[in-house]
Symmetry: C2
Subunit: 343 residues, 2 copies
């Protein structure tokens, strides 16, 4: 399967580039209430959602209690795009791919005449969209593979350090959700092992997740290219091939979780139908389980989208959340602040 | 790739079933010297090998020293068969597969007439060998796949609890190497994360590694079948398919390490040419690195084999160990005891 499924993921996203309506203005900075010293989730408003998270952690860590879970089994998985950081106006990894086209253009004079590269270089997203899936295959193949794993990690690190989000003019890693960072910290303080389980590329995330989320690279599950052990100038390398090894999205998420973790999580956090199977896999086993969906309801402070969005579409999981007991975290209602720089 | 490579691994092993000469008698139980209270490796004889391990751990943990490695980067990988537990007279997972044939035989009356099942049921290993790779494909397909991951874990756990090694008449998990258990413990006490990286099946190891090695299931890398997310009686399951997803042997080991860990180890332990690339990948990067080969030299207390063995063949790695700086741990010379029950 050569990149096809990954492109399917992305092609819808590109068509949103021209169509999505970004929030018209940045909301005034919220002033968080002074938190009680003991509040581990100070950026969450008091209410049912915050209480459900705190109660669950309390129950599974209470030694001798009926819902106690031994620490080694306290596995919590977090989707990334739209759950730990924003995903608008396009998936950040797609912005990376487009920036790579610009960076590589001097070596590819033919791109000036060749779609979708021409469109990307000229900022003509309609031309990019017109090329459709085939065009994105070409972009991914030209920007994501054919190098070594070490080279790719360096490229990602440099991009993460220098690229700026189009709206906020800040590094993309500034657009992580402060309330979710607090959940990560609270879980780890209670013996949980926290994992990222994302449809995004695992090698796109590993270089920065430790600094940004406190999650080490070995606790990241993501989509991945096949790699091949080889040698360059007498030194062993791992080459990134133009073939997909895992699409860690939808039914691929439980597969990725099983491959890398080998235990079923007891908590899962997502925001879209791409997380449906991860939430289902997590919450359908016996014992205490918690599934939570970050619902993007805040057009003023972030973005508001669900059923009809090309990015992070949330329909089936939204419909089934009540009967499955999945918690909906309403960004607008539940979160005092969105990003750390707004604290 | 349907099971072919895995069978290639195993077919050679089976041909050894009739041919290997087990040690004629169990050596008299060794009486370990009373160890100094501070000795973290009491089952290792004093000498260059033990010193090299202790010195390395001392160097990478000495804050401010030239070889200091931050704790999160202290990754150590261990092959399993022949490195952490024995692999004679046949790979233990192969014994499991053969026992599964016996267990499943009542449901398969046709096996009485059908090689290699007939041979296995009658103890006629020559007939099994005669069927070659094709026969082993059939055995693996009949015993390892087509069930759910939960079912397979239960089957493995029951086998591990009840099966007995043909020579020692003890559970296979008794045949782990006491000196290596001490290395695992010493490394973890010094901030290392210890991983199993084995050509054996990851789902064959995960159910018992935590109890036996103190290594959690998420720190096991191994060969694996493809799995598929599905539902049975309304409950989600992961089905084990008759297709290989990764052969975690030879050049597949750095690939598996990269997929699951995403960092390069700083220590690697192996015993055969199947570990060559893992040792090479580990020790060819800059900074302090240690590669160690367990050399099976003790025909009296364990087994003695290397260059010409069908199981755990060690030739190229033995030849190249000196110039690559890989340490040879000589079982006969370096180890006071082999198994925990001999302490």
């Amino acid at each position: 399967m050569i990149l096809r499924s990954f492109a399917v993921l992305l092609v819808l996203a590109v068509s949103a580039c021209g169509g999505s309506t970004p929030p018209t203005a940045l909301a005034p900075a919220t002033t968080p209430q002074p938190a009680a010293a003991a509040d581990p989730l100070p950026s969450w408003n008091d209410g049912a959602t915050k209480k459900a998270i705190l109660d669950f952690v309390g129950r599974v860590t209470r030694a001798g209690g009926p819902d106690f879970v031994p620490a080694p089994e306290r596995i919590a998985t977090f989707d990334n795009d739209g759950t730990l950081w924003s995903e608008q106006p396009i998936y950040f990894q797609l912005a990376f791919a487009f920036d790579r086209v610009t960076a590589l253009a001097p070596k590819h004079p033919e791109w000036k005449q060749q779609q979708p590269f021409k469109g990307l270089l000229e900022g003509d997203m309609k031309a990019v969209s017109a090329r459709g899936e085939k065009g994105l295959l070409e972009v991914i193949a030209a920007t994501h593979v054919g190098n070594t794993t070490d080279e790719f990690a360096t490229i990602v690190s440099e991009w993460i350090a220098t690229a700026r989000h189009p709206k906020y003019k800040r590094p993309y890693t500034d657009l992580v959700y402060q309330p979710m960072l607090e959940v990560l910290t609270h879980l780890r303080a209670n013996g949980f092992k926290t994992y990222v389980v994302s449809g995004g590329g695992v090698e796109f995330m590993r270089p920065w997740v430790e600094r940004v989320y406190g999650i080490p690279p070995e606790q990241v599950v993501g989509s991945r290219a096949k790699v091949q052990y080889d040698a360059r100038a007498g030194k062993p390398v791992l080459l990134r091939l133009a073939a997909i090894d895992l699409i860690d999205d939808k039914a691929g998420k439980p597969v990725g979780i099983h491959q890398v973790i080998g235990r079923r999580p007891i908590m899962a956090f997502g925001n879209s139908d791409g997380d449906f199977e991860m939430l289902e896999w997590t919450t359908s086993a016996p014992g205490p389980r918690l599934g939570l969906i970050v619902h993007h309801t805040d057009a003023a402070r972030e973005w508001a989208y669900d059923r009809t969005s090309h990015i992070g579409q949330l329909a089936r999981a939204l419909d089934e959340a009540p009967r499955r007991g999945w918690i909906l975290a309403d960004m607008k209602q539940d979160w005092k602040v969105i990003y750390p720089f707004q604290k």
